[in-house]
Amino acid sequence: MTRADLRLWGTALRTIAIKEILRFARIWVQTVLPPVVTTALYFIIFGGLIGERIGEMEGFRYMDFIVPGLIMLAVITNSYSNVVSSFFGSKFQRHIEELLVSPIPNSVIILGFIFGGVARGLTVGVAVLIVSLFFSPLSVHNPIVMLLVVLLTSILFALAGLINGVFARTFDDIALIPTFVLTPLTYLGGVFYSISLLPDFWQGASMLNPIFYMVDAFRYGSLGTSDFPVIASFAIIAMFIIVLYGLALWLLNRGTGIRS
């Protein structure tokens, strides 16, 4: 690895990141606006109308309790869908070939897509946060934990989206995982309730759900309350990132779904 290599990789990484960011920015009406509108509806219906009748959750107003979860929901789905649609789109229109013919290591390609996913995840996350301010005051217990959880979660789901994109052959394939895996796991991951409300069996089952740890750690950063030790949550998230990164790199090196 020489200095010239490093310079090339840096420039290439910046190029992919800029391209990915411009991609979702150009179509912001499809990418940024819908999650904001949806979350605003959640706030009004669940937080406002229904939440009034629910009362308190772990000592917080129901509205205040669900804000961290809804922010995480937005970050997760947007990081994921940004990368899966961008990567699949680049296979579909074949411009993935622009990257394949270039002297860029696959690790840099992966990083570039992660940048795009994180940028969209954070953009939408912040937008949702701003909307939430109309309904609930922002509570910050530990800002570093909050930021770190959002960042790592975003990276994790960008990687997962990339892997989905590698395997996807049709547009159906890129909707499958978000609909049948991601959304249920997020809803069951404690966005709308504390898992301490669940029977023992379902509490145990929730522990198998990676999203639970992220929502829980983020809620700790925001509200200072959690169902699980935050450090352990970080370890679990980090482990997922390492495994998914390794898998993504292996798939790209093999050329799965991109090289015949």
Partner: protein
């Protein structure tokens, strides 16, 4: 001198079991303008795909300016610019950004990338379109966009896979001029095409690939010298009473007023006209049936077909026939 491209024993079996390349050897010297010809499905794009890392090879060696594809893939990639057969850019990206991003993938910083993109977009008449979405370009403009994109990192070897498919005559000629200029500047060029006139007028060296094998690899001059016979089409003034048969020059009746004559290279047109005069056949006009190279090409790929019988109904067989049509 290190060859621009060196291929040894290249084989490709696709995942579905189809053998697209059956052991290819090829050498392209630096600075040359090289034509790779062959019928549909011969394996041209497969070969190019392997050289440019878009297709995994099954066996064999590829070296580009001495960089080995297995040991130094980045070196190979840096040396090549590719204009693929099919459009492969993001249709929803502005033209200028497509070229600038490609430069970025080769490590060229953004400001310099815009300078270079400007240069090539200008040369190819696309500068005014730099802010337009790629999908709004015409077919010919899209081809030129891919040429600009392939050149932006100043590769030593430019590979074009049917760059003038679907391009009108005027534009095709201006693209030829452009490529000639690029080649004169010292860049090596490999080109595949179905327009044999294109290969004949641009390329000094030529390889013909058919059914996954190289069946000819020589200079254009030597290849054309191989052409032993030429077919002439004769338009007659009036229907002939009889067409002489079994003479030194074979004649074929095409319709009432058209004859075809096959002239061997040791015969000349006077012999033909003498023959026609004797029969009282009067000729209105005469032309060469096909481009000379075309004739040779059809004959060679036909020979190949009869030499290596293909499994009936197989993929290869249909592709082969298309090539001859």
């Amino acid at each position: 001198m290190t060859p621009a491209l060196e291929i040894r024993g290249l084989r490709k079996t696709y995942n579905n079991g189809f053998v697209a390349l059956k052991g290819i050897d090829l050498e392209v010297s630096p600075g040359s303008f090289f034509a790779l010809l062959g019928p549909n499905g011969a394996g041209k794009s497969t070969t190019i795909g392997i050289i440019t890392s878009l297709v995994n090879k099954t066996a064999g060696e590829v070296r580009v300016f001495g960089h080995d594809l297995d040991r130094d893939p980045q070196g190979v990639k840096r040396s090549i610019g590719l204009v693929p057969q099919e459009f492969n850019f993001n249709q929803f990206e502005p033209v200028g950004e497509i070229v600038v991003n490609q430069a970025g993938y080769y490590g060229i910083p953004r400001r310099e990338a815009w300078d270079r993109a400007g240069h090539y977009l200008n040369e190819l008449g696309l500068w005014d379109k730099r802010e337009n979405m790629a999908r709004t370009l015409s077919g010919g403009m899209k081809r030129r966009l891919m040429i600009a994109r392939a050149l932006v990192h100043e590769p030593r070897l430019l590979i074009l896979d049917e760059p003038t498919a679907g391009v009108d005559i005027e534009l095709r000629r201006s693209m030829w001029d452009f490529l000639q200029k690029i080649n004169d500047d010292g860049r090596s060029i490999i080109l595949t095409t179905h327009y044999l006139e294109e290969a004949e007028s641009l390329c000094r060296n030529i390889a013909i690939i058919d059914d996954g094998r190289i069946i000819e690899n020589t200079t254009m001059k030597q290849l054309l010298a191989k052409l032993e016979t030429e077919t002439m089409v004769l338009d007659l003034v009036e229907p002939p009473l009889a067409v002489p048969e079994g003479g030194p020059i074979p004649l074929r009746r095409i319709d009432e007023l058209t004859l075809e004559a096959e002239i061997h290279s040791n015969q000349n047109l006077n012999d033909l006209f003498q023959l026609l005069d004797n029969q009282g056949i009067r000729v209105q006009s005469m032309r060469n049936k096909a481009n000379r190279l075309e004739e040779l090409f059809v004959r060679m790929t036909q020979n190949e077909a009869t030499r290596s019988p293909l499994t009936p109904g197989g993929d290869g067989a249909t592709e082969q026939q298309e090539g001859q049509a």
